[in-house]
């Protein structure tokens, strides 16, 4: 049944010692359920005690026509027995469910890597759609890799025959067959997946049975002798040491949603979320829409402007206003952000960055909205900006954003990106009791000497006054306000004073944030690699490898983009060189050079794809060489 089309590089096929980490990519048609397969494989990986990181990559189209190149959906996972922080540079294994999936993904595969292909899909029609003249399984073009090609479609059909499904429905189980095979390859337990399938198909038990049968069949297929010695060997990756505790996997989008809920609870406030759907930010709206029992009101507004404006209105009325979007939507919020700055109301604005400019690459990741976050408004309009570096970190950052917004009476921008939002990683569930509360105190009575809505506390924050509070009636707005009273005031001295006040209030936030730590390496030395956001993984790994080679390089990762940590300038100056890898054309670099006059050198990648570890390693090499 199975036919091993080619076994290239025979030298490589010998059984290898248990690897420290493995990268697997599942790729298929959008309809093939690759994201689901990846998700379940992720869970099983986590359960087997490996550390892991994932990278889902799907087309912009809802349902691209079957078999097309642009309709390919892929899910990559990197797992291992030690500290994993990227989804991996190049896959060791590529599972290609059709010709298009092979074509778009094979070039990334490691030389000598393994291709598993479903010959059932390599028919003329699909080959044509993938723009192959001849089947690559047959023309020798895959000679750099090992290829295991067999008719997964037929094997799946066979395995579910007894359930009497139609052909189309039967083939829908292909992904579970493949998952079964993958589970066998990496020596995993099937039970959690079986349990999950039972829950998922609770209303259609026959579908559950069929999927389980396919899963088992794939697994059995691996175990049988049929492919033994054909390059498909079982691999056991040892578990990574992990702190004891309760774990789950979490995507960045869910982590942000939960972090916001936690933040509102720690502030003792109801939350109001005004949003407008946009890829890849909608996931946060979706997650929060389900959490009404946590005091969350979600409002799908008519556009991004109404989304932020309603959130400002809700903050004005005493809720924690939150809005979230992606680059083009954030662009539309610029004017209203100014209003929040002028009226000094708390507001959390989340930007799940995607490829730009303009509509750009909606489903790809990028870090190119830092300029927009820090500088993108009319007037001198400073606000704090923080950036999450991983799904798990996004939870903490969301809480931090809530803290700053409510304690300093200011809008806060939280930057995340499409990669973090979609990727899942294992997360040790925090103990809620360990989270420090920061309850909000509304002004309940006029200050001595009369109501002063623009009076200042020691953090330079003004009081938060809820409409509905007797005796505290007052008016606010976007026109320059008089210090203290908040009345309209165009006078030169007042505008100067208020501009400085707004600036100093935001700069003062640096007093409440931790000093910048060196995440790997030491203070001072030849080279600091300085990153922010989702480049954490590749920088971390690249620095680890370089240090393993004995190179004098350290990794600094900045969470607080504005204001920057107080010690950062001195810290950066303690290195001979500073390298700043960013998925943009050099935006954090501008901040660092402006603020500290350090010769920060940019390393830029703007391809909609995360950095590869090797790319950063090479740049380190170049800086030190």
């Amino acid at each position: 049944m199975a036919s091993v089309a080619q076994i290239a590089n025979p030298a490589e096929t010998s059984v290898q010692p248990a690897p420290e980490s493995v990268v697997v990519r599942f790729a298929g048609d959008s309809g093939d359920g690759m994201q689901l397969t990846g998700g379940q494989f992720t869970l099983s990986t986590a359960l087997s005690g490996n550390d892991l990181a994932t990278f889902p990559d799907f087309p912009a189209e809802i349902r691209a026509p079957q078999g097309t190149l642009f309709g390919v959906s892929a899910f990559q996972i990197n797992f291992g027995s030690s500290d994993i922080s990227t989804a991996g540079d190049a896959p060791d294994v590529l599972i290609a469910m059709n010709p298009a999936a092979l074509k778009t993904n094979v070039k990334d595969l490691k030389p000598g890597g393994l291709i598993i292909a479903d010959t059932g899909e390599f028919n003329d029609r699909n080959l044509a759609k993938a723009k192959y003249d001849v089947s690559p399984l047959e023309d020798g073009s895959l000679s750099a890799w090992r290829v295991l090609a067999f008719d997964i479609s037929q094997l799946t059909r066979d395995s579910v025959k007894e359930f009497g499904l139609g052909n189309k429905e039967a083939l829908r189980c292909k992904n579970m067959w493949t998952l079964g095979l993958a589970l066998w390859m990496f020596d995993r337990d099937r039970q959690p997946i079986i349990d999950w399938l039972r829950v998922k198909f609770a209303k259609a038990p026959e579908l559950a049975d069929a999927n389980i049968a396919a899963l088992n069949a794939g697994h059995a297929y691996g175990e049988t002798a049929e492919i033994g010695g054909h390059g498909l060997a079982q691999v056991h990756v040892a578990p990574a040491p992990q702190p004891e505790g309760l774990y789950r996997t979490i995507t960045g989008a869910d982590a942000i949603a939960y972090g916001l809920v936690a933040g509102a609870q720690l502030a003792e406030l109801p939350m109001f979320y005004g949003g407008y759907p946009i890829t890849p930010a909608s996931a946060v709206l979706h997650a929060l829409s389900k959490l009404k029992e946590y005091g969350v009101t979600t409002f799908q507004a008519e556009d991004e402007i109404a989304a932020i404006a309603s959130s400002i209105g809700a903050s004005y009325a005493g809720s924690l206003g939150v809005t979230c979007s992606s680059g083009p939507g954030i662009a539309l919020k610029g004017e209203a952000l100014g209003l929040a700055i002028m009226t000094e109301l708390p507001l959390v604005v989340v930007n799940i960055q995607r490829g730009g400019p303009s509509t750009g690459l909606p489903t790809k990741t990028e870090q190119s909205d830092l300029y927009q976050a820090v500088y993108g408004r009319n007037g001198d309009a400073p606000l704090p900006v923080i950036a999450a570096c991983s799904p798990a970190d996004a939870f903490d950052c969301a809480i931090e954003a809530c803290r700053i917004a409510t304690q300093y009476m200011t809008p806060v921008i939280l930057l995340s990106d499409g990669y973090i939002a979609n990727a899942a990683e294992p997360w040790q569930v925090p103990d809620v009791k360990s989270l420090a509360p920061f309850p909000v105190r509304f002004l309940e009575e006029a200050q001595e000497g009369g109501l002063m809505p623009y009076a200042r506390d020691n953090k330079l924050a003004r009081p938060w006054i809820k409409p509905g509070t007797p005796g505290l009636m007052h008016r606010i707005g976007g026109i320059e306000k008089s210090a203290g009273t908040g009345h309209i005031d165009y006078s030169p001295a007042n505008h100067q004073a208020m501009t400085e006040l707004r600036r100093n209030k935001v700069l003062g936030i640096a007093e409440s944030i931790p000093d910048q730590q060196v995440s790997q390496g030491q203070t001072g030395g030849k080279l600091a690699v300085v990153g922010w956001g989702s480049t954490f993984g590749p920088i971390h790994q690249a620095v680890r490898r370089a240090r393993a080679k004995g190179q004098d390089v350290s990794h600094i990762h900045i969470r607080h983009i504005w204001p920057l940590p107080k010690n950062l300038g001195d810290l950066l100056k303690s290195y001979d060189k500073v390298l700043v890898p960013e998925m943009n054309t050099g935006q954090l670099k501008t901040l660092l050079r402006d603020q500290y006059l350090v010769d920060a050198r940019p390393l830029n990648k703007v391809s909609g794809q995360p950095f590869r570890i090797a790319e950063i390693e090479a740049a380190i090499e170049e800086q030190l060489g």
Binding site: Y247, R248, E293, F299, A306, I312, A317, S319, G477, G478
Partner: protein, 348 residues
């Protein structure tokens, strides 16, 4: 509400602030401000529970002059801000103050959606058919041929009809008045009484940039023939009202549209004059589009047929969805498939 002492009744002057009023002397906005300040005590409004939200424009300065909570937001966005205010605290009385430019030019979309959703609020649109604050450019309601700094040869676009727009957007309450009309407080009271979005177009005289454009019906000598004040259950009569109304509005049953008929000796039934039914949406459409000139200007409550309001529906759903669930954050964080890492490694 813990406050057990019944709130003292307010007086119009309790609704005045200490801020200098900054409209041009003679501006129609003054009269509207007075009408609002006269209405608020009568409807039993409380300063601390009242919020005026406005956009930008001369009209949008209004909140500074009312002793309540006030938010002078940005151009065109008042309905969106107000939606957040009301959803966050449905106990507040929310008034939206806006102009023809603010509500129908830059803010048209938000006006549409606040009406469609039917947020419980009062929307007072001060229509002076001009951009006052930016010094007199024509607005979406300016009549064709309006000469202004941006249209020195006269405007060429067809003007928007605010009340028609509101109905098209799904409004459940549409009323009209004008700045110095003695009936204005009654119109405002009806708007307040309506649960849901109440849209009130108020013709307002901008004496600097668009003086007297409404004089054709607001001036005393034109009032009788120019004003049709609608009352629910009453025939649509105008003209010499001392004689019980000498003209009326009837349906042309061939052409299926409205027409003006003469009423002889008060026998309006004979003339086929329509009895105003505030819940008749079909007739409301005809009334809001009735061209002034051949017809009088329809004033008062043109349409009033409440539907459930947005914030009530949101809150009801929030409560229902939450009922029986405890907001246990620890539980939320631990949701989904979890596993425990113990001394012996991970387990489900």
């Amino acid at each position: 509400m813990n406050d057990m002492t019944p709130p003292q009744k307010t007086l119009p002057k309790d609704w005045e602030t200490d801020q200098e009023v900054r409209w041009c002397p003679g501006c129609g906005d003054y009269a509207i401000l007075k009408a609002v300040q006269r209405t608020l005590p009568e409807i039993g409004a409380r300063p601390e529970k009242t919020v005026f939200v406005s956009g930008i424009g001369c009209s949008s300065r209004f909140p500074y002059y009312v002793e309540s909570f006030g938010f002078h937001t940005i151009h065109g966005r008042a309905p969106a801000v107000a939606t957040g205010v009301k959803l966050a605290n449905p106990d507040l009385d929310v008034w939206i103050i806006t102009g023809d430019g603010d509500a129908l030019s830059i803010g048209g979309n938000h006006t549409m959606h606040v009406l469609r959703r039917n947020l419980d609020c009062q929307i007072l649109l001060f229509n002076n058919e001009i951009y006052g604050l930016t010094k007199g450019q024509y607005s979406p309601t300016s009549r064709e041929g309006t000469r202004s700094p941006s249209t020195p040869y006269g405007s060429v676009d067809h003007p928007a009809k605010p009340a028609a727009f509101a109905l098209g957007a799904g409004a459940r309450f549409v009323a009209r008045g004008y700045d110095v009309a003695k009936q204005l407080p009654d119109v405002l009271k009806a708007a307040y009484a309506h649960k849901g979005a109440a849209f009130v177009e108020i013709f307002q005289n901008c004496i600097v940039y668009n003086k007297d454009v409404f004089a054709g019906f607001t001036e005393k000598q034109h009032a009788a023939d120019g004003q049709l004040w609608l009352e629910n259950g009453k025939p649509m009569l105008f003209g010499d009202m001392k004689k019980g109304g000498t003209r009326g509005i009837a349906l042309d049953r061939d052409k299926l549209c409205l027409k003006v008929v003469d009423v002889v000796d008060g026998d309006w039934q004979a003339a086929g004059v329509i009895v105003h039914d505030v819940t008749n949406r079909s007739v409301a459409h005809m009334l809001v589009e009735m061209p002034f000139g051949p017809f009088p200007m329809a004033l008062g409550i043109l349409y009033d047929d409440p539907k459930p309001s947005f914030e009530q529906a949101v809150i009801a759903q929030n409560e229902q969805a939450a009922s029986g669930k405890t907001p246990d954050l620890q539980k939320l964080l631990s949701s989904g498939q979890t596993w425990t890492v113990g001394a012996s490694g991970p387990q489900l």
